[in-house]
Symmetry: C2
Subunit: 145 residues, 2 copies
DNA sequence: TATTGTTATACTCTATAACTATA
DNA sequence: TATAGTTATAGAGTATAACAATA
């Protein structure tokens, strides 16, 4: 890799960081439903997509530390959106899964046409949305441990 | 727009949100320099790119409320990374600009090859980075007011 | 001993409401 | 009165350190 290439990559990083930050800020605030936060929705999405798992695994998926996941799960469990089942062989762990109510809440969030980000995406062209769609796996790879 | 298209857009939103959230989380934490936060760096980047402006304009650029910008600027000014000059005709406002020290800090941040995101981006292919580069303006448009 | 998860604690980020100074 | 910015206050988000339970 040439020095010029490295410098270009650093520049991309410098462009990407503020843009990600500002968009995430907007998404957090524009959320319509106030009973669950973006962080909590993200955790529910992971449970839906990857199925039941332990608190530690969830924390790893969400890129938060275990104590943060403890808090997220306490909130969701209190409202009946997730449940815990004992692990079959390890009593330290519990297997967390999303409940009917959690799925329903998630669906209504996702389907809502008024959802801010969905509206915003609708203002882009199909090709621009395709570009974004292609980039989602890259964002996930960047966020890997 | 068909119902199927709308549903696809909602799905994209649902994929994009957690991915943005998790990557932003990682970026916030992996930051090497502890004297300025991601939020503060982003504000300095805006001052560099768009030139001196008032606190209110900066808040709008950064998509934060004015009191949040007050705090950000207090921190940066205290450390000498930005300075205020009186507005020529309106004594309520001050014009904020980045200082030499602020530019130097920003440069060292951006150039650092060890910077976490830069390293991560280096692990992608050139084409993948080009995809990300193309998407930055879209992220900015999504975050517009 | 090592691992899983929780509790205790604290700091960052950010907002809303109320206020001050100036226009 | 309206606008620009700050102060006061509070809640969300997240981390590290210390602890408890189990493996």
């Amino acid at each position: 890799m040439t020095a010029a290439t490295r410098s270009t990559i650093a520049e991309l990083a410098a462009q990407l960081r503020p843009s990600l930050l500002r968009l995430t800020r907007m998404i957090r605030n524009q959320r319509a439903d106030t009973s669950v936060t973006l962080t909590q929705i993200s955790t529910m999405a992971t449970l839906r997509k990857r199925g039941p798992m332990s608190a530690g695994e969830l924390a790893a998926c969400e890129r938060v530390q275990p104590p943060s996941m403890t808090k997220i799960l306490a909130h969701l469990e209190e409202r009946g959106f997730v449940r815990r089942k004992p692990h079959p062989s390890d009593r330290r762990q519990a297997i967390i899964s999303i409940t009917e109510a959690g799925n329903a809440l998630y669906d209504s969030e996702q389907r809502s046409r008024e959802a801010w980000l969905t509206q915003r995406l609708g203002a882009l062209t199909g090709e621009e949305r395709a570009q974004l769609r292609a980039v989602v796996p890259l964002l996930d790879r960047l966020a890997e441990h």
